[in-house]
């Protein structure tokens, strides 16, 4: 009994926080997703699965879902590739590398809203790049005014703003690569390319998994950069799921519908994150077996 009380006293505070800050909001969100609620009325009307059915018919929500998945898929790959590339570039202890690491991490320190405003001033129709192009008599490039270009610009800025974390994690991972194995590979005459693919990369596998899951989860929630860079436009072409959830919930006063969207996004995010982690675990078992 005393042992139980001791355990409870130790986990109690964390448990209360966990329930209040995580379980309650999730339960409330689930409940609200089954209601028709404008955010003001005292009693949300229970409508069962109506919001989820509406979701399957909403062209806008479906498009936002695809846009989000595209951003998450392309962004995750690019974040990992650039993160690993830059980590290899600045790996090693020197003052210059320390400086480069700070520079690489710097974009991540900025608020996403600030990043968006910054890049809209660079890429906008009257921005720095187009200002320079027009001064040279060239045509304006539609970075933010054409739906496809705007999506590409959004992904590029997301990667710019986010890869600092990947660099840090890969740098930490590179410290764990066995120096003995690297030395053996060098003595055996392996090229740098062979050493990277056969020694370094396998050793980095757990870090790759962490980076993929982190990037995926972060990108699936993309919101603030959309607000400040593209405003979801042009013509709604860069609306992400998170952006649409906020829009429907607070601009359209459809909190029930917004909650249904957030539940679906939560399930998809959890599913994708678990899938990546399981694939990694299964690959590890294959290597060990």
């Amino acid at each position: 009994m005393r042992a139980r009380l001791t355990t409870l006293s130790m986990v109690g505070p964390a448990l209360v926080l966990f329930v209040v800050m995580l379980v309650v909001p999730v339960c409330l969100s689930l409940y609200l997703s089954l209601t028709d609620w404008d955010g003001y009325s005292a009693n949300p009307a229970f409508v069962g699965l109506k919001n989820y059915v509406s979701l399957t018919h909403s062209a806008e929500a479906i498009r936002a879902g695809w846009v989000t998945l595209l951003i998450a898929a392309v962004g995750t790959v690019l974040l990992s590739v650039f993160g690993l590339g830059f980590a290899l570039l600045v790996n090693g202890a020197s003052r210059l590398n320390a400086f480069f690491r700070i520079v690489l991490f710097y974009p991540h320190v900025l608020s996403a809203l600030v990043v968006g405003f910054l890049w809209s001033a660079v890429l906008g129709t009257s921005g720095v790049v187009n200002g320079w192009l027009t001064s040279k008599g060239a045509e304006v490039l539609p970075f933010l005014s054409d739906p496809k270009w705007a999506l590409v610009s959004l992904i590029a800025v997301l990667v710019w703003a986010g890869f600092g974390v990947n660099v840090v994690l890969y740098l930490a991972g590179l410290q764990t690569v066995s120096k003995d194995l690297l030395e053996s590979a060098r003595i055996d005459g392996a090229s740098k390319r062979q050493t990277f693919f056969n020694v370094t990369l396998p050793a980095l596998a757990p870090v790759v998994t962490v980076n993929l899951v982190l990037s995926l989860v972060t990108l699936l929630k993309t919101y603030d950069l959309v607000v400040s860079l593209t405003g979801g436009g042009p013509a709604g072409s860069t609306q992400t799921a998170a952006y649409l959830i906020l829009w429907d919930s607070f601009h359209n006063n459809a909190l029930g519908f917004g909650s249904a969207q957030s539940v679906v996004l939560m399930v998809i995010t959890a599913g994708l994150a678990l899938t990546v982690a399981r694939l990694r675990a299964s690959a590890d078992r294959g290597v060990q077996g």
Binding site: L8, L15, V16, V19, V20, V23, V24, C27, L28, D38, G39, Y40, S41, A42, S120, L123, G124, T125, S126, G127, N130, V140, P142, F143, L144, S145, D146, P147, A150, V227, T230, G231, G232, G233, P234, A235, G236, S237, L246, W247, D248, S249, F250, H251, N252, N253, A254, L255
Partner: protein, 417 residues
Amino acid sequence: MRTLGLLTSVVILVGAAGCGGGFSDDKGAAGDSTGEVRMLVNITPNLTKSYWEGLIKPFEDANPGVDVKIEAPTGSGVKDTLPQLLAAGNAPDVVETLMADKVLAPQMLDLTDQAWTKDTPLVEQASLDGKVYTVGVGQQAQSLVFYNKDAFTKAGISAPPKDLDELTAAMGKLKAAGYLPLQTAGDYVTGLQLLQLSDPSIATKYPDWYQQISSKQAKVGETMLPLLERYQSWIKNGYVDKNALGLKDVGAQTNFLSGKAGMYIMGSWFVRTADDAKPKFDLGVFAAPTEAGQPSPGPQGVTMAAPYMVLKSTKQRDLSIKLVQWLVTDKTAVQSQLAQDGNFRKGYTDNLSPLGKQVQDILDQAPKQVAQGEGYGANTLPQGFNGEWNKAVQSLYTGKSAKDVATRIDSWMGSKS
């Protein structure tokens, strides 16, 4: 394990109770003659927190023991902050910026029996089922076209256009003279401008447009189709920049005020920006033209400036009403709010700039003042209309036809009924 389950249940119930605690069905307690009144307000570069505090100081001085606490939105604006405060059981006593509609009205105090509301701007137009929930300081004119008089002169345009054919012809002349005829932008600007431009024509052609839309006698897309087709032709002819959607509203204003564009459709709040910028060209404003054959000037789209409501859940009903009455009737307070945000009110013309006087003239000469976009009071479209309309209009730039846009907006309206 059982203990754990019990603990979890208690916490969930406590949390849920906390979340539901904000909704009150009472009629607002009268309260004391002194105490605190919390007011949730819009914060912008013009309407800073210190501005609001300075505004209400004379009221506090005249009412010793009364403390008006100015609260800034915790979300992106008042619209999303109020539901959060209500849900948290922490609703303010007074809210500024929002106007009562069928969603908000049940949470607000009915001010119909307050005699002083009768003399406030647009109070009848904003009433809902004959009841007054919202009172305002002034008016924001919507259907305005600001124009570069120097550019007009260079393009050989002798007078501001009175109908849309003349407007289109003027655009051609401005383009030929080397100007971008009409400045627009992405964000909310694209759709808003077309709504602002359409107000006089729609209100003349369909005097009870909102009622016809609500009763499904008319469709938004169908009634707007001629304007959408005209706008599409402007894009095609280069009268608006095909890359304008890559501009923020501030960028568009800068472009226009730097003299690159001939016209900029915007609400009266732009007067303050234009006056501060002191453009190097002669800046004027004219009422949005009507469709060919309709009398000009047409009905003007207007919205209520600085609207206030008292929440039904207030425990300081009398003080809250007294504060709102002061805010919308005290001459100094009204004058200050009009000047701060480029708003207008009949009889308050002393401090207007030359451009502001032109706007007041347009408002005074308008045969009628009509709601705009999502509207207010009885003239209301479904929540979210402005955003959906904006996206639909922007799709004209991305290759959709006017008919596609009309169908899209009608389909959206159908999904909201």
